[in-house]
Point group: D3
């Protein structure tokens, strides 16, 4: 083999060996991936996310995907001649809209199954209805009834344990049922967080459209790479966190406080961000962790 | 207890006792139910079918539902301003149509899951994509390419065995993937037949919109209650069978010859037709059976 | 199908569907049936009881039969020229009597096995000796030694769990051993109650020769259909309960207080009383239940 | 320790060590013991037989006991004032006699259970009715109908495998059912032989009242210690074998030819004959073996 | 059989029957045997020990052997021209010595495996390195660093449970690793004691070169056959125990106080001492037991 | 993240993704690694080999290591003052030499265990004696008896399946026993080949001190990267293969013809050669494959 080739080959080996302690560390652990945003729209990024999750499955982790589909729902609502309505950032969801939302989310769901199957791993696409996974109650928006929008009240993880035991990769769309077995749309971040808590996931990773949590959103240099729950609370109290990041960060805190070991806010626009976060010692985005945990990952 | 009450109560007991040998006979056997036609449109009938299948599950059978959704697909194709096109009775399925078909079938699928869950039994709604259940190849219509319409070429029943072992009721919509992992629509009768063969079902029951097989379709008295494979072939050869019944009967013959013990063509418009067929000694519709089988059921 | 037939068929379906919630409710639950009295003498009733229990087994319950045989024992004691002696209602059981009692009870036991096997379900007839199921100590009658009559001091349920796991219907005759491995006769009601407690049965049903508990035994209209433990205690304190009903009711209270969910005193002279109690919303006889339980069954 | 003690202790160790290869050889093997004759009457011998079988169980074998009870049956037939009738050596068994036979055999059965339980091992006493173990058809005596005397036509060993798996010692009394589920008495030797064949026992041992097979019954020195099937056939053909030994030897030949590795005719009047046969290199009684087997046991 | 033979045969049966309660008592219990001293040097004794342990395995116990090899190590240290150095009775173990110690101990280990395999039982020879069984820290001798001599700080018994479940006889040589994965020699008595504690062994037996614990070592009549923990402490306090017995007795006390039911100090120079201790009611050597235990064994 | 960092990170992701199809392809497959030569002497290479095998284990493969230790044996033979003797390239192995060989090989064996444990994976070091893994017979060298050098005659893989099931990495040194349970040294290549055959390994990889098979050993450009069995035979026949490569190549052919899918001759002097061979599409060394197999790996 030529010199040059040999060197390139050696570098490859080095990357694989670098992954060794991480593979070992997360072996047979459950990792919930909230998949949404740009990473679901760009076909190339989509492929990378699915490759990443499939690789996690193959090297012995137990990934679970929870996905959204907001933009696609709006598109189809328009297609049938209806107008999307939002109240305080929440989609007003009457029966007709709910029907479309369910159709679209399940379509997205099965297209992800398709991609995983193509990579040779067995996936099952389910919603929160299957096996009674997600129970909800109606969510009001500042007291206003905005239709079939639900808050998760209970997670029945039996179906997930069954599917993981049988070596499937579960892919979940965020629809649940209330006590009268009506369908409700659920915010995908909330669903992912509730599921991660219920199965006591090792990790919960949010693929987002931002680089992570900033101390000052206008200052790209103020990206925070690790944040304890206390620090996160402080930032919120001091008003540093706003917009869509606020509920997301609250979800992170909630997850950590209920048994999830570590939550990651990753930039889904970076190819293979998930893989890089887990398998290399660089780290990407912001990690939220327990106050007591040692910060050994990246230091 | 009053006389009259007592008599009514006794009659109830009699019905339950009458069911005993059938419960015993089909204990832990797989029963594939092709669910379609009027029974899927009429809300009352829908409820009865789901009650029946759930009861079968609870008394120890292993039912699997395969459903269609043709009318609903046409409705939604219309809603988005497209025109359904049929070639020799097969829906011409371009990419846009396939997208709608998949959305609609998965919506129907999850609504059936919902109804079963409401009755307290765990269901999972899957398509032929999940776990690579159904592999297809393009189906031509008299040599003409009509788009994403597929013939089942292979069934991978692992996912079904896994779900049955974990005590779920699998509900399947007839979508499969070809070798390049494209989605295809499959005729629900064909899908049910292929699945019944693959799991060597004890029974395959078609819920249809007719009373059964007639010797003379114009003569309501010519309904045939039992038919061996040979007799069915004879009827076809002699030209007695036409219209939509011909492919259905061919499916029945195919199933019997590939390990399914008995196929039933039932009138889905009769409430609880499935239950009555299985649990009483009256029988309903037409049963197709192996030439060698004894006809002990109803005699 | 003719109008009239169709109606009859529909009514059958209705009965089966009515059973659905009960089948679901008691799925895989243990039900202990104390079988005795007229229902063991009349051949027709005997057949009905066995049909009922076998049906319970087939639809997914886990029934256990505990039976007596007092009249048959007396008959055989007479046959060999001995005189049955009773002290305060308890059979004086010397060694010769015990030998006959054991022979007769085991004969009855195996004849029940025979009937269940004939219905196609696997049964095993055991006594409290097998697998060390029932440990007893000598029971005195007002301080008087009346021979080999025992009180259950310990139940070792391993054998029952083993047999249920292997899908057998256990049929038990009430004979136990003391610390020195001598055989003792046990009151069948007591044995059934002790076993129901040990396996934490969902239900314990006594098949008796009366319609249930009366407030006023002379007033047939005063039959009580449901009774909480507190109410039962009240009735006993107020002297409403006497004769053979007193120990039976005490057994019921004891069972409820030790983990059995519900106890039924049924009229074994009504054909299929067990089936009717469990599968219809009429209810028969008297149900004893926990003070806190909601009375949803029949209302 | 004193000299003398030490020597005695050493001899003990020697006996245990001598057992080593036999324990190893028969580890987890099924051994069917036909228990009858004097060994069932003499209380001391009875105790020894039960000790032996229990020891076999504890050191890792899987013993099954099949017992008779002829003398005891006759006694009880007499007790109720009836007269035992024999036709060609077979008990004429009308319905009344069958009832007594069943009572007596089950009583004997449970008394053996009692003795095994006392030694700390779990036993279950069953008849050929339980779990449908023994199917029979009526046996004629030279064409004459002698009542409920049956020949085994089918053995369903599921119940035995289930009980062995759950670590019980099965004790079987030889009663079976015909196609109409009537009870029949079976010759215990025949039952033991049929069961040993069905479970492909490693050994079948008959405890008898003779020392073994003699070439010349009048010459005590002509005891045969090993006999191949061919040699046994020769002896029968040449008329050396008569009386009760003839059917027993035919049973032995039948067992060997159907998968049992070795059959032993042991003198049940010698204490611990079973243990000695299996654990020492002396051997007792007559062993019947396959023509091809090497005779390494005792040489 | 002749009179004399018969008597000898009867005596054999008696020994086997005498073993019955002990086999029953220790069925499936773990017994750790510390094997060392003369019993490892004398080829005949060696054979007897291995026979004993193999027999224990075959009759249903779960023996584990922990062995030393001090004399053999010294021999090989000499062979390569080095001089064994001892500090306060502990071998000074530099890197070169440790290398030899590991070689010798593993050689001895595999030779024991060989002997067990020859008796037809599956053995695996491991050290405390395999599966991370034994973690150690450096042991100082009166503050002096004597090299790679370790104290057990943690036992990870997973490997032992795995091997026992798969029916292997584990044979362990006392080498462990510290936190930096260096090899250390461990005193075999200490290793056996730590392992017995970790697996909560029923028994821990030390094969030694003395007859047991003496009240007065010079008075052979003062051998103590049973000793409670309190009594042992008393003896130590009163200065009766010295030399190599002191650490051994402390190990015994430590084991009893940490879940081992009974510890035996046996004279390994007596053939089959292990067998005799366990299977006969004579007892050999000294048993150390809990203060509360009844002394039923030998009385 | 800076541009440059980002690019480097992307390249890392690419390497991991490139590994995906290989991880998938060999998931849960057994890979036997013959470990010897320079890779066992150089401490750095040693570490790389152990890292590679541990990584294979962690990502779902089932590696088994078979190692030699020839140079180390010679060193110790010298240390004790003996002279290594070779006959036709085989070590003359008298009893004293065998004793040293066994000591050294087991020491090497446990040092490999140590390294794997340090990486956090459970290993067990065994020889062919444990669990009766390797049976041998004496190997003659041109008819001459050269002592305890053995040819494998039988492999009993139970121990390997047990250890793999319990998730251990088995590390094997090539010592076996003959029918009389004497120890024999086995050529490590032969042992690895016999073991790979017995467990029907997916791959067998030889770590050697050469780059692979050359058509012309003097022409470094004539390295053959893939070789079918037929081609290999041709090369041998035509005299291209000589020296130590001849028996190795014969071993390869033998393995392929007995169920191993692919054999690799790798250059153990290249760091991480094993990882590179399996996880990248470059390939290293020479692969020997079945005549019928497609050569898709590297093309």
């Amino acid at each position: 083999m030529e010199e040059q080739n040999m060197q390139s080959v050696m570098e490859k080996a080095q990357v694989l060996i670098e992954a060794l302690p991480y593979i070992q560390r997360f072996n047979r652990k459950i990792i919930v991936v909230k998949y949404g945003g740009s990473a679901m729209v760009d076909e190339e990024l989509k492929k990378h996310v699915i490759q990443d999750v499939t690789l996690l499955k193959l090297v012995g982790f137990k990934p679970i995907i929870v996905h959204g589909g907001g933009k696609e729902i709006s598109k189809w609502v328009g297609k049938v001649g209806m107008e999307p309505v939002f109240v305080n950032g929440l989609r007003k969801t009457d029966e007709a809209t709910m029907e479309i939302a369910e159709m679209v989310l399940n379509k997205v769901n099965k297209s992800l199954v398709q991609m995983v199957q193509e990579l040779g791993v067995n996936a099952i696409g389910i919603s929160g209805k299957d096996g009674g996974l997600l129970k909800v109650e109606k969510k009001l928006s500042n007291g206003e009834d905005i239709g079939f929008v639900g808050d998760v009240t209970e997670v029945n993880p039996k179906i997930l344990y069954d599917l993981l035991e049988k070596d499937f990769l579960p892919i979940i769309c965020p629809i649940g049922m209330d006590d009268h077995y009506n369908s409700y749309n659920i915010n995908a971040d909330d669903a992912a967080c509730a599921i991660a808590r219920a199965v006591e996931a090792e990790k919960l990773a949010f693929l987002t459209d931002i680089e992570g949590v900033y101390k000052d959103p206008d200052d790209k240099d103020s990206l925070i790479s690790e944040l304890t729950v206390s620090e996160a609370r402080e930032l919120i109290k001091d008003g540093y966190i706003g917009g869509g990041m606020l509920p997301k960060l609250n979800n992170c805190i909630d997850a950590i406080e209920n048994g999830v070991s570590r939550v990651h806010i990753l930039d889904g626009r970076i190819a293979h961000c998930l893989l890089l976060e887990i398998f290399t010692n660089k780290g990407i985005g912001t990690a939220i962790l327990d106050d007591k945990e040692d910060r050994f990952y990246r230091e």
